[in-house]
């Protein structure tokens, strides 16, 4: 029933939509990681239908490239993307799409060999990232530079100086094997691969990204720009459903894990135990003891859900991206003005409206003003180090 069309042009048929475009089915594209859960839970709970939308079975993809390709080919129209990817898409590639909401916050970690105890120990080693345009790459490079290490991208036979860290891109499933094989010193990636690394005793979590950049977004909900402008009602419905789903998940983490698990449906391939561990079994005290959490006062969860796309985050993201090494053409990044990007890339009007339906910002514990300061602390701020 999905029509193979290849146009990124205007509405199918070209008629102005009196119905606000409610006739268009919601076609979700997702990766089998927990980042996708708000979209999937909304589907499982029939929240799209509740908004008067038709929703198709969400489509599973295996790589960021594939999901973007399907999005561009209009095979799917609601996707979650890494926040740096959206910057790259809109400004690097001039592809019209917008962020309408955050998907989740935190939910990633830096996993390393057991004998590595601090970031400095990574000097002279290789670390894997999942994708150049990922929040993981951004955070990792910040951590490394602030620890006085130089980020390099070297060929295999070149030697890595003790003050350098070599980055490679690896598919997440291979990261655990590579860590077990000791051919990399660590990797930074989304859950549940960190949990898996711990379970297999191949490594341990060195830092949670949420402990470096407080309540940072990792994935965002991304829609076609013409859907936003020409199907405002449809867009509102989608955002409402996602926000309601996030709201529900905050209080029903365990049920969410059940719904998403491979045993109970066909959303993700992960066993319930792993999902439960990520969603509910967060022992922050233990992690504080091993140094993976250095800001216990932030009271961060391993993964959390909150829809509002703070402009300050977008601005900070653009600033950090401008300092980050990525593969390929990056000239466009230099041209970006963070404030302008925050205004242009993100359309928060739908979220604002949706928030009202669940009881306002405080339902998610965010300030009524919908403003915040970004907190990015690579090192423990105080003299805890002793």
């Amino acid at each position: 029933n999905s029509q193979p069309t290849a146009s990124v042009g205007t509405t199918a048929g070209g008629q102005p939509n009196t119905s606000g475009g409610l006739d268009q089915p919601v076609k979700i594209g997702y990766l089998p990681i927990l980042d996708a859960s708000p979209l999937l839970i909304a589907h499982a709970q029939k929240l799209y239908e509740a908004e008067g939308l038709a929703a198709e079975q969400p489509v599973l993809f295996r790589s960021w490239a594939a999901i973007v390709e399907a999005f561009l080919a209009r095979q799917v129209n609601v996707v979650h993307l890494l926040s740096p990817v959206t910057v790259w898409l809109r400004y690097g590639r001039q592809l019209p799409g917008k962020i309408v909401a955050w998907n989740h916050t935190d939910g990633s970690a830096l996993t390393v060999q057991p004998e590595i105890n601090q970031v400095e120990d990574l000097g002279g080693q290789t670390v894997a990232v999942p994708f150049w345009y990922s929040i993981h790459n951004v955070v990792l490079q910040q951590l490394l530079t602030q620890a006085g290490l130089t980020v390099v991208r070297k060929a295999e036979n070149e030697t890595i100086a003790p003050n350098e860290v070599n980055l490679v891109v690896l598919p997440p499933p291979e990261m655990v094997s590579a860590l077990a094989n000791k051919s990399i010193a660590g990797y930074i990636v989304a859950e549940p691969f960190n949990a898996a690394g711990e379970t297999s005793k191949a490594g341990k979590v060195l830092r949670f990204t949420g402990d470096v950049w407080r309540n940072h977004a990792c994935c965002v909900v991304f829609l076609h720009e013409d859907d936003i402008t020409q199907r405002p009602q449809w867009t509102q419905g989608v955002v409402n459903a996602i926000v309601k789903s996030q709201h529900w998940m905050r209080d029903h983490r365990s049920e969410a894990a059940q719904i998403l698990a491979k045993e109970n449906g066909s959303y993700t391939p992960h066993p319930e135990a792993v999902l439960q561990k990520v969603l509910t079994g967060f022992d922050s005290a233990a992690y504080a003891k091993q140094g993976a959490i250095q800001h216990p006062e932030w009271a961060a969860q391993r993964i959390d859900f909150q829809p509002f796309p703070f402009p300050s985050y977008t601005e900070e993201l653009v600033r950090l991206l401008q300092q980050t090494q990525v593969e390929g053409e990056t000239a466009f990044l230099k041209q970006l003005n963070p404030t302008e990007v925050a205004r242009d890339l993100v359309d928060d009007s739908f979220v604002k409206q949706a928030l009202q339906q669940v009881g306002g910002p405080q339902a998610f514990g965010i300030p009524e003003s919908l403003l915040r300061e970004e907190t990015f602390k690579a090192q423990r701020s105080l003299s805890f180090l002793g």
Binding site: P4, G29, Q57, F61, A66, A70, A73, P173
Partner: protein
């Protein structure tokens, strides 16, 4: 000495365990030695061990969880192989028989066949959307080359006396192809089919990345995503088993052509 050379007509002394089993047993033993928890400490490694893999296979098969995946993949393999055969063999015949056609297409074909299915993917999605269609496309485009090349090589190797015979009997082009060339190259076509089925299984895994909901390739990717390596090995075993059965079928067909026995 290679046995078929020295004693064509002599029967071999039968071992109590048939030979094919010996090979399998020996390799399982090696596999066990390389991965068993008894000898190794790495937890990840243990997942690859035969004991776990066999347990997982049994579990997958008895619980029936794998059945829909098997059917989905078999359907795709079949469609891909059929399409590739329908296109590849006539193409191979044309290329093998006609120098002008060979010359005008060879550059193109040599170009196209070097393209990895993974690089076709964006194009497949653009052209066919997601679901079964792009998978069929990727499988076909991967499997067509061994069929085409083997067929063309077979045509080149057809005994020239048989072609002379056919011409002397005033056979038409079609008759020459149907009655002389196709039977003469049957072994080549079967080799092509055997290779094609191998390539199809190879490509099935990346192809089933494309937004499908079931299939053995899909399942393999699933197990990789959740690091369920014993299940991964189990699915590999199941794929191997199916592939082996298909291959055995082809070889039986192949033997039917070798009357020389």
């Amino acid at each position: 000495m290679p046995d078929s050379l020295t004693r064509p007509s002599q029967q071999r002394l039968r071992l109590a365990i048939p030979l094919p089993l010996w090979g399998v047993l020996a390799s399982v033993l090696l596999w066990w030695l390389a991965t068993t928890p008894v000898l190794h400490s790495s937890l990840v490694l243990h997942d690859f061990s035969p004991e776990r893999a066999f347990a997982a296979t049994l579990q997958l098969l008895t619980s029936g969880a794998i059945a829909p995946h098997i059917w989905a993949s078999l359907r795709r393999v079949f469609v891909g192989l059929a399409t590739a055969t329908i296109l590849g063999i006539p193409l191979g015949l044309l290329v093998g028989l006609s120098r002008p056609i060979e010359q005008s297409t060879s550059v193109l074909f040599q170009f196209v066949r070097m393209i990895s299915p993974l690089s076709w993917m964006p194009i497949a999605v653009m052209a066919f959307g997601i679901g079964d269609m792009p998978v069929y496309f990727l499988l076909t485009i991967a499997a067509i080359w061994p069929l085409m090349l083997s067929t063309a090589a077979g045509v080149a190797a057809v005994d020239r006396r048989w072609l002379l015979l056919s011409r002397s009997l005033c056979a038409t082009r079609g008759e020459t192809v149907r009655k002389i060339i196709v039977p003469a190259i049957a072994p080549h076509i079967l080799t092509g089919l055997r290779l094609a089925i191998g390539i199809i299984w190879i490509v099935l895994v990346p192809a089933e990345m494309l937004g499908v909901r079931a299939g053995l390739g899909y399942y393999i990717l699933d197990t990789r995503d959740r690091l369920a390596y014993s299940e991964l090995v189990a699915v590999i075993l199941i794929i191997g088993l199916i592939g082996y059965l298909l291959d055995t079928g082809f070889r039986a067909a192949s033997r039917a052509w070798h009357h020389e026995g």
